[in-house]
């Protein structure tokens, strides 16, 4: 092809690839000779394991939750294999029980734990700073600043892990995971596997064993502090403008370098333990110091504890990314300089465009139905179905953490006021979230005789992170067939009575509504399992699309309340009913190119104005045009 020939071939012998931070970490995991890798999906960490799974010679798995994934990786290092584990920031809250003790045992082969913080909250319930784990667990922690460093630091982390026999934390943020840059890559080097050596003093953590390991942990930390003083991961970049010396790490380094090209910068790659001696020497070369770190003042606080005078979160925000647009004005104020006169364009006012559920999503029917229930408190969970809190459903009242819908529902039940004694408590949870952390909560509901109706939305995928497989999907990380959990048997085994367990098609609105009404009246735990697949996975099969017969649409707007993005309003009107009440009308069309024929909008449509696209080939008799009044939502 002549046009393709216009592109020059890559000039260098070394392979240089455009990679996201997640891809770069995965590549380095392969190069490092890792043999076992495990993770539970979570934004922005998900793609690390997805990419690792594409390389040969590594056992990879989607684990049931982050704690199990870390235990699997730890087990593999005891067996002498280099191993890798990845999770989002909140995942480490789940995994930390294992983490806090494996710092005592240490590791027999390299173990790197990548924790991806969602700085800027693109898709998370909080913005916690995972760098605390290094301090809490006395583990070394590395912070790459771009894709190349994500690759290089992963390799360095394995080397450090084996030299100090310690798990190493690789701390990433969204701005590393999801940024693409050019990366020089290498090839895999295989490593001999030593095998498991029995040693109860090392591997059995009971008080006697743990007490022998505690001093070793602190001795290791002392040696790591010496290491930090000479580590090539910590670099001083001198600069001519010495009014402020910057101490920074991670992606914030790039923002600092971009904003203040002439300033001296201490770039920390190994950020725990800190190289205090070198930092003190750096302080001597600058008039004042500013610590730029995302997001909490960890480095700053430790430097202050060392008696150093630094600025940090006194002038920089405690929340979100420290991009050039944040840094430049803050530093100008610190230096007492006038703010740059560059007139900043004001963003134009445009409607918000929040994420929404997909066309034909099986959750649409569930939330449409929940929105019809009265006197109900809905305890939600983490996943696509969290979106049910928003318009038009407004049918999710609380959301906290993975699996929390169960325990919170029981607490809402047990702690209810006298006024709310007839309030129905419903918990909504997805298949993978249920298996991750929810099933223990359901066991608690059953054991403690709670009055909660559980909606278990089984769509056979971890939808929000892109449809990953899990023990409920019947496929493994490679898409190969795997044992599939039977939710009905599982919830019965947890003690939910067989009569109280129902499986329902999420598109059968009347059945769903009837079941929900019935089960919320019965004062004992019940579970309603919906069983239609996520529309983004291959189990979903699109059906014939629908369209609206324009002349039959009465403008009632009931179909709009389903919340399907394929339904569009073509015209609005306001009419006065015979009763004198004013009613807003919304006439609709269906974007047939997007419609996959789930039929959810048919049920609320009184005039049967919604028909299969093909059916419209026959002429439509105009029955009532514009004159007859609509069935309003209040009439349902």
């Amino acid at each position: 092809m002549s046009i393709a020939a216009a592109i020059p071939p890559p000039p260098q012998a070394v392979r240089r690839l455009l990679m996201s931070g997640n891809e770069a970490v995965a590549r380095a995991v392969w190069e490092a000779g890792v043999r076992v890798a495990a993770a539970y999906p979570g934004t922005p960490a998900t793609e690390m394991l997805e990419y690792v799974a594409t390389y040969p010679d590594i056992y990879t798995e989607w684990s049931v939750n982050e704690k199990v994934s870390l235990e699997v990786a730890f087990g593999a290092t005891m067996a002498g294999s280099r191993s890798f584990c990845a999770m989002k920031h909140v995942g480490m809250n789940v995994a930390s029980d294992a983490l806090m003790t494996m710092t005592l045992t240490g590791v027999a082969a390299g173990l790197v734990i990548a924790i991806a913080d969602d700085v800027g909250l693109s898709s998370s319930q909080n913005e916690q700073d995972s760098r605390y784990w290094g301090r809490f667990a006395h583990l070394p922690l590395l912070e790459p600043a771009d894709s190349q460093e994500a690759h290089d630091y992963t390799l360095a982390a394995f080397e450090l892990s084996e030299r100090f026999e310690v798990p190493v934390i690789l701390r990433l943020t969204t701005r590393i995971c999801h940024v693409k840059g050019l990366v020089n890559v290498g090839e895999r080097s295989e490593r001999a596997v030593a095998g498991f050596t029995k040693d109860v003093n090392r591997w059995v953590m009971v008080p006697s064993g743990a007490s022998r390991r505690l001093p070793l942990m602190f001795e290791r930390e002392r040696r790591l502090r010496v290491e930090a003083e000479s580590s090539a991961l910590n670099v001083i970049e001198s600069g001519s403008d010495r009014r402020i010396g910057f101490i920074t790490s991670g992606p914030a380094y790039m923002h600092v370098r971009e904003s203040f090209p002439d300033a001296p910068v201490y770039k920390l790659g190994l950020t725990f333990p800190l190289p205090f001696d070198r930092l003190r020497r750096f302080a001597g070369e600058c008039e004042r110091l500013l610590v730029v770190e995302e997001v909490e003042p960890l480095i700053e606080t430790e430097l202050k504890a060392q008696g150093m005078t630094v600025s940090g979160k006194d002038i920089l925000p405690l929340i979100g990314e420290l991009s050039p647009q944040v840094l430049k004005p803050a530093v100008a104020r610190l230096l007492g300089e006038p703010l740059s006169e560059q007139a900043q364009a004001v963003p134009m006012r445009v409607f918000p465009r929040p994420p929404t559920m997909c066309v034909a999503c099986p959750h649409l029917g569930v939330y449409y139905t929940l929105s019809q229930l009265r006197n109900v408190t809905i305890s939600g969970d983490i996943g696509c179905y969290t979106l049910g809190f928003g318009q038009p459903w407004n049918a999710l009242d609380v959301c906290l953490s993975m699996g929390a819908s169960m325990g919170m529902a029981l607490g809402l039940d047990k702690g209810r006021s006298d006024v709310e004694k007839d309030q129905k408590i419903v918990a909504v949870i997805g298949d993978s979230t249920f298996l991750h952390m929810g099933m223990q909560g359901l066991l608690d509901i059953v054991y403690n005789r709670g009055n909660v109706t559980v909606l278990l939305l089984d769509n056979r995928a971890i939808g929000m992170t892109g449809g990953q497989d899990n023990p409920g999907s019947g496929r493994d990380i490679h898409g190969q067939e795997a044992p599939r959990v039977d939710f009905t048997t599982l919830v019965k085994a947890l003690g939910v009575r067989a009569e109280r367990v129902h499986v329902v098609d999420a598109y059968q609105l009347p059945v769903l509504l009837r079941l929900l009404r019935a089960e919320t009246k019965i004062p004992e735990p019940s579970v309603i399992i919906t069983n239609q697949p996520c529309v983004l996975i291959k189990d979903y099969h699109a059906l014939r699309p629908y369209q609206v017969i324009e002349d039959k649409c009465t403008g009632c707007g009931n179909c709009v309340d389903v919340g399907c993005p394929a339904i569009h309003v073509t015209r609005r009107d306001r009419v006065r009913k015979a009763s004198g009440r004013e009613v807003d009308l919304a006439f609709v069309r269906i974007e047939s190119a997007a419609c996959t024929g789930c039929g959810l909008c048919l049920k609320p449509c009184a005039p049967d104005a919604i028909v299969h696209v093909e059916t419209l080939a026959t002429p439509i008799k105009v029955i009532r045009k514009g004159t007859e009044l609509a069935r309003t939502p209040q009439d349902v």
Binding site: D146, R257, P324, P347, T356, D584
Partner: protein
């Protein structure tokens, strides 16, 4: 070209909604810049982009790129895949920057529900604010070619004459993606690219007139 840090960097902002192919288009632009020996960084503010939300993809290239993010007021070109989304990100553009935008609209449920209004005329609003806008209906062009998914090739065709490298380099990067697929698909994308290029040119002439 913008001057941030020590290096001259070209900033291109590609915006739209989840599912429109914004991120793929930016990836192809990045590949073209790499093919010409530039350092490149590409980043997204995507949120839960797969769920129809706002997507803005930042591409920066030059001798060496540091921060991956384009700061407000420094984008050279804003490539808008959806009319209101182009308007949402106008403030990212340099005063002398250029907006190349699809006039096609994707109306979200929140507007269908009557909670918010879609802007009456995004192109006029941006021009009134002093921005140079080349607009065209890329959605219709793609549909006329037979597949709405050709929209991102149409958009890339539109930007191809407003880059610091020849349009042919970008076209080559697009077609390379279809090299292992049917010849008809290659030809279809060639036509989409040419149509986008022509649409931007026509819009530029109309703007000049």
């Amino acid at each position: 070209m913008s001057e941030t840090g020590r290096f001259d960097t070209t900033n291109i902002l590609v915006v739209g909604t989840g599912g429109q192919g914004v991120m793929t288009a930016t990836e192809i632009l990045a590949e073209a810049a790499i093919a010409l020996g530039h350092d490149v960084k590409k980043t997204e503010v995507a949120g839960m982009a797969q769920r129809g939300g706002v997507v803005s993809s930042h591409l920066r290239f030059g001798a060496k790129v540091l921060s991956p993010q384009i700061t407000p007021g420094t984008a050279n070109v804003l490539l808008g895949f959806e009319a209101a989304e182009a308007m949402r990100w106008r403030h990212m553009l340099r005063p002398e920057g250029l907006v190349l935008m699809n006039t096609g609209r994707l109306v979200p449920p929140i507007v269908e529900l009557g909670l918010y209004d879609y802007p009456d005329d995004p192109v006029a609003a941006m021009r009134a604010a002093g921005t140079q806008v080349f607009s065209f209906d890329a959605s219709r062009i793609a549909q006329e070619l037979g597949d709405i998914r050709l929209g991102n090739t149409v958009m890339l065709g539109a930007i191809s004459d407003h880059l610091p490298f020849p349009a042919e380099v970008l076209e080559g990067c697009i077609l390379k993606r279809f090299a292992h697929k049917k010849a008809a698909l290659v030809e279809l994308n060639q036509r989409a690219f040419a149509a986008g290029r022509a649409a931007a040119e026509a819009a530029a002439k109309a703007e000049a007139a």
